[in-house]
Symmetry: C2
Subunit: 366 residues, 2 copies
């Protein structure tokens, strides 16, 4: 299957929030639908930590995307109406420049020489992409999870850059429980001796670290309720149990193993560290002397949909309520939707029926 990714060269040098610049950096992105002559129907999606720009199948790449049930003709983000763009985050490893890319100044991989990355850098680089595509104002900026925080950064740095905003299962700032989880994930990678301060290769690769990090991620992306119904105490068939001492015996353990196996070599560990730390650093209140609500109220939008789920332990619903109230205080007309999906943080990826209905209704009302 062909690759639908397109590439956008960022202005060079591209200045980063915490200092440092990138030269010759680019973003990968994909698009669906057609930009209108007035260039007023663009919807830009910023993703969670690990997805690529391939949100859905398109004419070039027919493999299902990570938000396949949401993006497409007649779907919630209806590509018959909207020109949908999804961008791979700056700092990621799915085609955009990041720690796993070559540093043009040295010819070597950046690794830990990549400048300190913030979610605002991800937002600013996505803004450059939209501008580069000739889009002065987005019809809607959509941000999921980490991408939802990056979207808040985008909006606060670029007033008037979007008419509407869809904020999905995200937060206005990282709180200590989420920081603790992400810190432990990073530590698992850092303590893997194959990580070697970022200098690994495929032969000496921090598989153990990234595998533990991914499993912890999966545990916090889901919910106890969902797993009780789905796995209960079902044991693996004897022939599928791991022979080694204390090896996997329950289905839930095998489920985690499968998730980790798929991820280990599909996502670069250094990129993971950069994006994870950027998430911890994000705090919209920096823009209003430590006041979350005041900072959010500086974001000027016509409309917003803020959506999340009650079973999310990583980005609790209360944080989406904060976003809704803050944006409302800024003058936007805000729809707030708290779903009771059992799937936890990942519900936006799997309970697409309910998320699709809410997002579709909001988009149709624009």
């Amino acid at each position: 299957m062909a690759d639908a990714r397109q590439y956008f060269d960022l202005p060079s040098p591209f200045a980063m929030k915490r200092g440092g610049t990138l030269r010759g950096a680019h973003l990968s992105y994909e698009t669906w639908g057609t930009l209108s002559a007035a260039r007023d129907n663009a919807v830009l999606i910023l993703t969670g930590l690990s997805p690529s720009a391939h949100a859905a199948r398109n004419d070039i790449d027919d493999t299902p995307g990570w938000w396949e049930d949401i993006v497409g003709p007649g779907k919630a983000l209806d590509t018959n109406r909207w020109f949908v763009i999804c961008v791979n985050s700056l700092g990621s490893c799915k085609g955009s420049t990041g720690p796993a890319s070559s540093n043009p100044e040295t010819g070597e991989l950046y690794r830990l020489d990549f400048p300190e990355l913030t979610l605002e850098d991800i937002g600013n680089s996505a803004f450059e992409l939209a501008r580069g595509l000739g889009i002065e104002r987005l019809a809607a900026l959509v941000g999921c999870s980490m991408g939802g925080m990056a979207a808040l950064g985008y909006l606060i740095h670029h007033p008037g850059a979007a008419r509407a905003h869809v904020s999905v299962s995200t937060a206005p700032q990282a709180r200590p429980f989420a920081i603790a989880i992400r810190s432990l994930q990073r530590e698992a990678i850092r303590l893997d001796r194959n990580w070697n301060e970022g200098c690994y290769d495929e032969q000496h690769y921090p598989e153990i670290g990234i595998s533990l990090a991914r499993k912890l991620g999966v545990i916090t992306y889901r919910s106890a309720i969902e797993w009780s119904g789905r796995f209960g105490r079902i044991r693996l068939e004897p022939e599928k149990r791991e022979e080694e001492p204390f090896g996997a015996e329950f289905q839930i353990e095998s489920y985690l193993n499968a998730h980790a196996r798929r991820f280990v070599h599909a996502f670069d560990p250094n990129c993971y560290l950069y994006l994870s730390r950027a998430s911890d650093w994000f705090d919209i209140s920096e823009y209003a002397e430590g006041n979350v609500r005041a900072a959010l109220s500086r974001i000027k939008l016509q409309r917003a949909l803020v959506i999340g789920v009650e079973t999310d332990i990583l980005f609790p619903l209360e944080q989406q309520q904060e976003i809704a109230e803050g944006l409302r205080a800024g003058g936007a007309s805000v729809d707030f939707v708290g779903l009771d999906s059992p799937q936890g943080h990942d519900a936006f990826l799997v309970d697409t029926e309910r998320f699709g209905a809410a997002i579709g209704a909001f988009m149709a009302s624009l």
Copy 2:
């Protein structure tokens, strides 16, 4: 400070639930108060995964115990009235026989040659201790966390062995979310190359593994709400930040580091693995063809207090409700207390004001 531990020799051989036997095994325990002439005022405490038998200070050992605010003269477990016994679990490393003990048959440490351990073995061995102390029937059996599951095993195997039961922040069976967390903790230990299939020493010790396991434990023992209030986004003083890449920067990270440092060499990694797996295995429904409620209803008690907290993600309150309903179905008069303590699973150790009030009122009513 002197050591208040006493030792009880288990019947030898001592048969384990899943097969295998222990020879020459013993339990360590401590006591407070005086056993009445009728031997009818004994209260036995089964602990969580890691505590020792030192629940509170006593005449011999004046250091504070792990349940100092609950056990003592005039406290919830009033040692002026009750003869309180706390036992270090079989399989632990705080004086009782476990994987870190010498195998009398080989003269070497058991390590992974220790027979498979279940929580029922912990319950059965504690029952032998009570019998050995001349106590035919406990006034109350108290079980916290893992010890609460062991207590259910004790009660179902030994009908009539207790008049009353205090069940604290525990569960009638391990559910997949808790199994996933514990499985990941075990994996962190197992994947530390210093673990070496259980053959480590102080020079080659799985510090990384047990440290990651402990941090994950602390994360799941507490709650997001408590940490938001306690740590927020407070950063470490610059001089306290870790210099290495991606090192600790927030107070919450330093808090986790401190917890891990205290634990690493204080608890034996093999014992941790055995007790952790035993927790996953526990399922009271085994005693009634897979029906939790029916199994619990086979436990005959006069009175029970079942207590837990709403913010507990490891042993959710719903599981304490299951215990309360099951024991009630068995004919006991059951008090159920669901507290809104913000401290999560660990609330029974730290919100001793509310736990003490509930436990004290229940004990006074006996």
